[in-house]
């Protein structure tokens, strides 16, 4: 799967998990400063990624991602 394709899907998943407008999100969106989510949202996001992209992610690794770009890197490594 191309990076852009993964990005499009992940942006939608982030928008859903964090209840944000997908138009406000990009690769440079920071989980901590822009989204400010708690671990509940990250659990929802990781579950969705595992379901839809068919990869296994460690919650700890995903939680360690600073930005959405970092998360895409992580997914690509696991694919």
């Amino acid at each position: 799967m191309e990076r852009q394709e993964i990005l499009d899907q992940v942006l939608n998943m982030v928008a859903m998990a964090y209840k944000k407008d997908v138009a406000d999100l990009s690769e440079s969106t920071s989980f901590k400063t822009d989204l400010g989510g708690a671990s509940v949202q990250m659990v929802a996001l990781v579950s969705e990624i595992e379901n839809e992209l068919d990869v296994a992610l460690m919650l700890a690794d995903a939680s360690g991602c600073e930005t959405i770009a970092d998360l895409i890197d992580l997914i690509e490594e696991e694919m």
Binding site: V43, A44, V46, S47, E50, N51, L59, A60
Partner: protein, 335 residues
């Protein structure tokens, strides 16, 4: 009778099913065996059935003391997957779930979520981090809470508080630097934990270096904001602050410093620290200077009771923690 003896007595009256994904570990198996044969719990060993049976035989235990669940039993796995994926609010679908169930800890937690066990007990081979993360993925965080956390129960010789020598404190182990929402979650969970474990009517104080505005600054604002959030989320609970520790637990000091009605001031039985720096130092002070026994940390905030134990814990301590978690699970069912 000490508090731990009372908890053991309580466990016997309503033994709960405890799943052990680290069944092969020698200390864990011994603790499970003793807790089971003494009537405190119904131990379920989760793993490769052949390996477990061989270990039971080698160690001289009676196999009938345990229920053994074979993680290689595809029929049972299918039943669990079906039950788990039909639960409301579960997020993982079959394929992702099966992949996670390759791990025994997560297999046991799926059993618990599917009501095939009441508690998952681990942490001797798995790290605390493993248990916390698997708990969040499989068991989930209680609706409305922003974080999982922990409390400890201190039995402090010579302390005459509103529950005698006992005081519950949190979070001294899990949540490093909680924001106001997270601090509110810790307070709410702590109240629920002491209710289910000890049948206390919780009176929870969020402490700081200021009492009701006697000081000012962002460290205090965090605590007052947390109290406000907690009261909005759970008006049924007595959560109050910000108080200094003495105003929280000492009626004479509370009378001087707290100039308004409070169900909590001076008689708090649960104390919530503003962050882990305070929490960790405080529990060490209570242990070192107060010569207290501190039980825990008891994990809280999950949809069902998840328990972790120290990797260096002796069998007696593991057994105590198993029984505590079983009593909490029985208490949560009664709610």
């Amino acid at each position: 009778m000490s508090v731990i003896d009372k908890i053991f007595e309580k466990a016997k009256k309503d033994p709960q099913r405890v799943a052990f994904p680290e069944a092969l570990n020698e200390k864990m198996m011994q603790a499970a065996y003793e807790a089971g044969t003494e009537g405190y719990i119904i131990p379920i060993l989760v793993g490769d059935a052949e390996e477990i049976k061989a270990a039971i035989k080698e160690r001289g235990y009676k196999e009938e003391a345990f229920k053994i669940v074979d993680v290689n039993d595809e029929d049972y796995k299918a039943v669990l997957v079906e039950k788990y994926t039909s639960l409301p609010d579960t997020r993982l679908k079959e394929k992702a779930l099966r992949r996670r169930m390759e791990d025994k800890l997560q297999f046991a937690m799926v059993m618990q979520a599917a009501d095939e066990a009441d508690v998952t007990f681990a942490g001797i081979d798995y790290t605390t981090g493993d248990v916390l993360l698997a708990g969040q993925m499989i068991i989930g965080i209680k609706p409305g809470l922003a974080t999982i956390s922990s409390i400890g129960l201190c039995d402090i010789p010579g302390y005459e508080g509103s529950e005698g020598s006992l005081l519950a404190i949190g979070d001294s182990a899990v949540c490093t630097n909680p924001n106001p929402e997270q601090l509110a979650s810790i307070a709410i969970s702590a109240c629920d934990t002491v209710k289910s474990l000890l049948d206390w009517e919780p009176r929870c104080a969020c402490v700081s270096y200021s009492t009701l505005g006697s000081g000012q600054g962002e460290l205090i604002d965090k605590v007052t904001e947390a109290v406000k959030i907690a009261n909005e989320l759970r008006p049924d609970l007595a959560i109050d602050g910000e108080f200094q520790l003495d105003a929280a637990i000492n009626p004479a000091v509370a009378q001087k410093k707290v100039n308004r009605e409070s169900k909590v001031a001076g008689k708090a039985n649960v104390v919530i620290w503003p962050d882990l720096n305070v929490g960790n130092v405080a529990v060490k002070l209570i242990q070192q200077f107060g010569k207290a026994d501190a039980y825990g940390p008891m994990l809280q905030g999950f949809n069902k009771v998840v328990c972790d134990c120290s990797r260096s814990a002796p069998v007696s301590e593991i057994k105590g923690n198993i029984v505590i978690s079983a009593v909490r699970a029985a208490g949560e069912k009664r709610k």
